[in-house]
């Protein structure tokens, strides 16, 4: 059984500084880390490996600059077996469509994956589109908001979807299939020291555009291959808040709050 986990390297959103004037994130202000939701996907894959005692291999794939290799090593330390890095300057400027196409091309090239996992969304881009787009480019079924893998065997996977149209849904998909997971699917464990040390010595496979020859063309990737373009960046105006903070005077607080509750027609 070959499981592939798609991960993204993101800036630590709690520390990252934002340049209000330029309208860009200052990526040097915070360390890059594995997208938190992808940690859940990775752990879910590793859990399968441990639970099934079958011959499960977990491969982790990411697209990014050369330094994203660090994320793959981190994934190895957390229990993955192999890492694949898609990196090429021509991949730069990809929107979700071009990103998904590139990932799908690499998946086709490597071949032989039974199950593909990804996190619910990335904390920096926040679109949650890439997983389903990859599934479409591979023409395989997918499910999102998966909170549990109930059963995984050689030709199908049964999952529970947390909430779709107000229902919890149990679904069976033929393999290969892709699932996007919620944070409830697993509890990410910390890497062991041994794995951490080992991760520094593993070989990471690198794939460039040239390696994808026959699977995608240059026109399909990067900025050129992206149907969406950012035309303008706008900095939101500060919303004016009443911002009255009371300390001792509970009566005054109560009066203000009761007034606003009355105004809103609540009491």
């Amino acid at each position: 059984m070959n499981i592939l986990v798609l991960v993204k390297e993101v800036p630590d959103m709690e520390k990252v500084k934002f340049d209000q004037e330029k309208g860009v994130v200052d990526r040097s202000s915070a360390e890059a880390e594995i997208n938190p939701f992808d940690e859940n996907a990775l752990q879910a894959a590793v859990d399968q490996k441990e639970k099934e005692q079958k011959n499960v291999t977990v491969t982790v794939m990411t697209m990014g600059p050369q330094r994203a290799e660090k994320t793959l090593r981190d994934a190895y330390a957390r229990g993955a077996d192999k890492g694949v890095l898609l990196t090429d300057r021509k991949f730069g400027g990809s929107d979700t469509c071009a990103t998904a196409k590139t990932l799908a091309a690499a998946i086709r090239k490597i071949g032989n994956f039974d199950l593909i996992l990804c996190g619910e969304k990335s904390v920096d881009g926040d679109t949650a589109q890439v997983g389903a787009e990859v599934a479409e480019f591979l023409d395989i079924p997918h499910a999102y908001y998966v909170e549990e893998i109930r059963n995984l065997d050689h030709d199908s996977v049964q999952v529970t979807i947390e909430n779709i149209g107000g229902d919890r849904q149990v679904r069976t998909m033929k393999l290969p299939a892709l699932i996007g997971v919620t944070k409830n699917i697993s509890r990410p464990k910390l890497p062991t020291v041994n794995r951490k040390l080992e991760s520094l010595t593993i070989q990471v496979e690198t794939i460039t555009l040239q390696d994808l020859n026959g699977f995608m063309s240059e026109e399909e990737c990067g900025f050129k291959g992206s149907p969406t373009k950012v035309s303008k960046i706008e900095i939101p105006k500060e919303v004016k808040k009443n911002n009255q903070v009371f300390r001792e005077d509970f009566t005054a607080f109560l009066q203000s709050v009761t007034d606003v509750l009355t105004e809103k027609g609540i009491v």
């Binding site: 479409e136 229902d167 679904r171 998909m173 996007g180 149907p227 969406t228 009443n242 607080f253």
Partner: protein, 334 residues
């Protein structure tokens, strides 16, 4: 991997309505409202596609502004499953060639829309907070980015131009019974896929925090699960519901359906009362658009106070019960 459409031919705006268990999701009416505004600017038709089983009141979509409602009626659409939906919607779009396609950013919409966009080889912008038409007649899709630090204006260079829009972002289109009923029934293009089958649907309890007008939310300042009863009391007096920060879900004190924030529910109630919540960016992402924010926290430097309209620095174990008592008293007087 996908074909893509000729940019010149298309016309019209298509709203893909969502239904679940035969009930039309209100986000569909919100999309029709915005869709109407765009359609008038471009002088184009506004149509709606509905997929579902028998007996859905499709004419409602006409009353809400759709000129033609295409109703793809078949029992295969009674279960929400992306692959079968996608196959049929893509075939419909390839035939009708709308220039703009709008989909609700519900869980199902967010899962389905990217598949449709990829199949049509076009772009998709997620969670738009506004949509405009520019001088060239193209759709400008506006969405927040980087934890709401900025708004990106996005254009799609291919057709159809596709966007998803969050529930409660726009007002619902007014219901006008004078609008003509105009429903065209469409046969499904594809049968159910065997690649993916729905085995079971379990109705979740009706608890939907996003529908509450008042939310009393508790965070790590709540020490034990039983103490949430205190917030329940206050919520009851105000006719609201109890929400929580992720800290309480992680501690096993609350269900994730009650979680407010980036990885939980985004809420926009009239009044949000944050009790013992510090105001981490991921929590704010889910509630900062509430009309009025009230915060009770023992730490005067808690970031929640910066976005609160009214704050009280104090122990919630004293403040909340007293607040509830006062409100009850006033009720009794009236």
């Amino acid at each position: 991997m996908c074909k893509g459409m000729d940019n010149k031919k298309q016309r019209g705006i298509l709203v893909i309505a969502e239904q679940s268990n035969g009930e039309i999701h209100k986000v569909s009416y919100e999309l029709l409202n915005k869709g109407r505004e765009l359609a008038e600017q471009r002088n184009m038709p506004l149509d709606c596609l509905l997929l579902g089983g028998d007996g859905i009141p499709a004419e409602e979509l006409n009353y809400r502004g759709a000129q033609t409602v295409y109703y793809m009626k078949d029992s295969i659409f009674s279960t929400l499953e992306e692959y079968t939906y996608k196959k049929n919607i893509v075939a419909f779009i390839e035939e009708k060639e709308p220039e703009i396609v709008l989909i609700g950013a519900t869980n199902f919409g967010r899962s389905l829309a990217p598949r449709i966009a990829a199949a049509l080889c076009t772009g998709l912008t997620a969670d738009c907070t506004d949509l405009q038409i520019n001088d060239e007649g193209r759709l400008i899709q506006i969405r927040p980015a980087f934890s709401d630090h900025l708004f990106a204006h996005i254009k799609t260079v291919k057709n159809p131009q596709m966007a998803t829009v969050r529930y409660k972002e726009f007002a619902e289109a007014k219901r006008d019974l004078k609008n003509l009923e105009n429903i065209i029934f469409v046969k499904p293009y594809f049968k159910q896929t065997s690649k993916s089958t729905v085995d079971e649907m379990i109705a979740l309890d009706d608890f939907d925090i996003t529908e509450a007008e008042v939310i009393v939310a508790g965070g790590r300042g709540i020490r034990r699960k039983e103490d949430l009863a205190m917030l329940e009391e206050l919520a009851k007096v105000l006719g609201g519901k109890v929400g929580v920060s992720r800290a309480l879900v992680d501690a096993g004190m609350a269900e994730s359906s009650a979680q407010v924030g980036y990885s939980g529910n985004r809420v926009k109630p009239k009044v949000y009362i944050a009790c013992g919540i510090s105001g981490a960016p991921q929590h704010l992402a889910g509630m900062k658009d509430s009309q009025v924010i009230i915060a009770v926290n023992s730490d005067p430097s808690a970031p929640i106070f910066q976005i609160a309209d009214y704050g009280y620095v104090g122990d919630l174990y004293e403040v909340i019960p007293q607040f509830t008592r006062q409100l009850r008293k006033e009720d009794a007087v009236k």
